[in-house]
């Protein structure tokens, strides 16, 4: 279980995250929903040590995580909004490079893992292409495959469907659901309400750096009236 306790973050005196606490179980998808600038992406960036936490703690299975060394431990992975694939490498190298240089795997082992991941994500025919030759959906799948290569326990996804059409959004949602079924803890920052409809998740609506309302997607779909703020946001009234 991932537990965030009283996470605070300010940029130049401006409070971006204000005492954010939440728990995400293994196999659970937590969706941080909200308009731009409410702090949902910042939360994911903090968890990946791309920003430093002002105060608050992060626990994984009740063990406090040292955020300064979090990237070396490979407990958390991140799929970026812009994918951030290594542009000078081939599709396969984006995975094998990380395995060889970071995980110190042998060339053979790295190739084997990469081949399995590329096959799983339907990219085996693109192994020797540069990432510039991939479509948006393919880049998204490669970004997920690269993250999974390091076997993290938590996967953060920043606006995973912002650049995708509705059909690809459905495919990505299916992939995310599969990852959750495999036991990964998944945190998503998004303002794409269409994605929510396709996921079995817990929704955390954020506003001004705080979680203002939360509900599982199932609860919400049954009793929308019980979650007025969330309902207004999804209907586009707020």
């Amino acid at each position: 279980m991932l537990r965030l306790e009283n996470i605070n973050k300010s940029f130049h005196e401006k409070k971006i995250l204000d005492h954010v606490s939440l728990r995400v179980e293994r196999g659970e998808i937590a969706v941080m929903l909200g308009k731009s600038g409410v702090g949902k992406s910042t939360l994911l960036r903090l968890l990946n040590n791309l920003e430093t936490i002002d105060s608050g703690s992060v626990y994984l299975d009740n063990k406090k995580l040292d955020m300064d060394t979090i990237n070396r431990g490979h407990k958390i992975g991140m799929v970026f909004q812009e994918f951030n694939l290594f542009a000078h490498m081939t599709v396969e190298q984006n995975i094998t490079f990380v395995l060889e240089k970071v995980m110190k795997k042998s060339k053979q082992s790295a190739h084997k893992t990469a081949a399995e991941l590329l096959k799983h994500y339907g990219l085996e025919g693109k192994a020797n292409s540069l990432v510039s030759g991939l479509s948006g959906g393919q880049k998204q799948r490669l970004a997920i495959a690269r993250t999974l290569a390091l076997k993290p326990q938590i996967i953060c996804m920043d606006e995973p469907t912002s650049a995708l059409d509705p059909l690809l959004t459905t495919h990505v949602a299916k992939t995310i659901q599969e990852l959750s079924d495999e036991g990964y803890i998944i945190l998503i920052a998004t303002h794409d309400t269409a994605l929510l409809e396709k996921l079995n998740c817990t929704i955390y609506l954020m506003d001004a750096g705080k979680i203002v309302e939360s509900a599982t997607s199932m609860e919400f779909s049954k009793k929308r009236d019980a979650y007025p703020v969330l309902d207004s946001f999804i209907k586009g009234k707020k």
């Binding site: 990946n48 040590n49 791309l50 990237n71 070396r72 431990g73 490979h74 958390i76 992975g77 991140m78 970026f80 812009e82 951030n84 694939l85 290594f86 542009a87 000078h88 081939t90 490079f97 990380v98 240089k101 970071v102 020797n128 292409s129 540069l130 510039s132 690269r146 390091l150």
Partner: protein, 223 residues
């Protein structure tokens, strides 16, 4: 019947001396280029990713070396090095001075290349657990060099021509060889035509090689 203003028999006789000079010119340019590339890369990295002290120091270095003529830098090196206990030949003085000058230019080319690599690439590297050195070695520099390759190539072609400045401190490189032959034969046109032709062949060959390398790099980048 008109005769050619170029004395081809003199030109043919001068070829061994000119080739010897051209070889020295290539050595000076290659040495300067190596120093410029190694230190220019380090200085460029320091300016792009280093702390404020490093950035100021590199900035100062670049201002001085880009703001003064290479000829003056060469003369200062030639006359000052022995006074501060550095006893090296004119040939090595030329390599060092040209290399130090090139360092300033290359550092700025490298810096601009580094700036062209998106922050997202570095963030991805960090999240994936790469060390800072691995990020520079495998992510930053390979992408930066692709962008700056033409500018870097131009700098190295320029160094071949700049190596002629070494003649001023007595290095018998190509320009000096030409000057020596001219003082014996008084046929400036023939001699300097030959010298110019040699420089053209050297810069042309390097330009061609760089162009082929760039095309190969581009081809690989679009596969």
């Amino acid at each position: 019947m008109t005769t050619s203003p170029i004395d081809f028999s003199l030109l043919a006789k001068s070829i061994p001396d000119l080739l010897y000079g051209a070889l020295l010119s290539i050595q000076i340019a290659a040495g300067g280029c190596s120093i410029g590339f190694i230190f220019g890369t380090l200085f460029g990295l320091a300016q792009a990713r280093g702390n404020v002290v490093l950035r100021i120091l590199v900035g100062l270095y670049v201002t001085i070396f880009r703001g003064t003529p290479m000829l003056i830098q060469l003369l200062i090196a030639y006359f000052v090095f022995p006074q501060i206990g550095i006893q090296i030949s004119a040939f090595w003085t030329a390599i060092l001075a040209i290399g130090m000058n090139s360092t300033a230019y290359v550092s700025q080319i490298i810096r601009s290349g580094i700036a062209s690599v998106g922050i997202g690439q570095l963030e991805a590297a960090q999240v994936l657990g790469l060390t800072k050195l691995q990020t520079i070695r495998y992510i930053l520099l390979p992408q930066a060099i692709r962008v700056i390759f033409p500018a870097l190539g131009n700098e190295f072609v320029t160094l071949i021509k700049d190596s002629s400045l070494a003649s001023i401190i007595g290095v018998t490189e190509l320009a000096k060889q030409g000057s020596m032959i001219q003082s014996q034969t008084y046929d400036a046109l023939t001699v300097y035509f030959g010298v110019a032709l040699m420089y053209l062949l050297m810069t042309g060959a390097l330009s061609l090689l760089l162009s082929l390398a760039q095309r190969r790099m581009y081809k690989h980048a679009t596969t």
